[in-house]
């Protein structure tokens, strides 16, 4: 058996396994001997807090806020583009102004669409 070319591999495998499992086993033994469990209803409560939890965690809530968030983000990014546009306005040609107008109108169209869909109405 020792003549097998895989013998040294098997020895290394067992050693590697022992290296991983021995600390786990020792920790388990230590916990058995020196940390007796002391459970009680307060300690085992689902949520750790000075106050007793009330009600059920399974409640429904509207996730509508993300629509507001996205619309805000779009116009926030628009403002980032508008600022350099305003700074360089006097030096710009008609084509640049038209391009910026298209950009703003595209976003305004999106806002109008969202408005028409009733997204801006909080329910």
């Amino acid at each position: 058996m020792t003549s097998s070319p895989y013998f040294s591999l098997a020895v290394l495998f067992v050693a590697a396994l022992g290296f991983g499992l021995a600390p786990l086993g020792l920790a388990w033994l230590w916990a058995r001997a020196f940390s007796p469990p002391k459970p009680n209803p307060i300690k085992n409560a689902i949520y750790e807090c000075g106050l007793v939890s009330k009600g059920d965690a399974w409640v429904q809530f509207r996730s509508a806020y993300y629509l507001y968030g996205i619309i805000f983000l779009i116009f926030d990014v628009e403002a980032v583009f508008l600022l350099p546009f305003a700074v360089a306005f006097t030096g710009l040609g008609a084509a640049a102004c038209a391009a910026m107008l298209v950009f703003v109108l595209l976003l305004v169209e999106g806002l109008a669409w969202a408005w028409a869909k009733g997204v801006l109405t909080w329910v």
Partner: protein, 214 residues
């Protein structure tokens, strides 16, 4: 009992010092275990009143509680070893403090910081002030002061470390948390008509309480 006496390292103290002089380091599992525990006491992150400001100062750069291994203030009682009751415990707050203490994992320690936490302090005559948190939970170290300076909190912490160092893993004088039969629940008081009910935990506060002013 006899076996325990032999294992105790108190008897070998001189031999230990002698071997240390020769460059040989001798220790016990108990010593190593306690060294590890006292060097990583994680306090719970909560403050009740003005003492909490001093507690915060203690953790910051000038006083630096991190030197003693206690810089990690945990926001969850399940990850904390030490409860620093820093400030006035009102009767409205006492049930929450006791409940949080119950939710801490064993072994757990309590430092009652300041005059209010140990006795009610200047507000002792107040109808809504608990006259010492040690009426409901076992306190390991009391620090007087109003508020105690950060040095006082550090000294209390070192005192607690010494206490942890002296705790035995086996034997009749081992701490409560190592005793499988000892209970780990400390009853949470409730707000009664005139006072908290019960007015104290008889297990940790054997003194009889007569009236509201006691």
């Amino acid at each position: 009992m006899m076996n325990y006496e032999l294992e105790s390292n108190d008897m070998d103290q001189e031999l230990k010092i002698e071997l240390g002089k020769q460059g040989i380091f001798v220790t016990t599992i108990e010593d190593l275990y306690n060294w590890g525990r006292r060097s990583s006491v994680w306090p719970m992150q909560f403050g009740l009143a003005c003492c909490a400001i001093e507690m915060i100062a203690t953790t910051m750069a000038r006083y630096d509680l991190a030197r003693f291994g206690a810089e990690v203030f945990r926001p969850s009682p399940r990850q904390a070893d030490l409860m620093i009751v820093s400030g006035t415990v009102t009767k409205k707050m006492a049930p929450q403090v006791v409940r949080l203490y119950n939710q801490m994992a064993e072994p757990r320690y309590v430092i009652a910081m300041g005059a209010c936490a140990i006795s009610g302090g200047p507000f002792k005559q107040g109808y809504n002030v608990l006259k010492g948190i040690d009426r409901y939970i076992p306190v390991d170290v009391h620090i007087p002061g109003c508020p105690p300076r950060p040095e006082a909190l550090i000294q209390a912490f070192i005192t607690l470390q010494e206490k942890i160092d002296g705790q035995h893993l086996t034997g009749p004088d081992r701490p409560r948390y190592l005793d499988a039969n000892a209970q780990g629940e400390f009853p949470v008081p409730e707000r009664g008509e005139h006072d908290l009910e019960p007015t104290s935990n008889q297990g940790v506060w054997p003194v009889q309480i007569q009236g509201l002013r006691d």
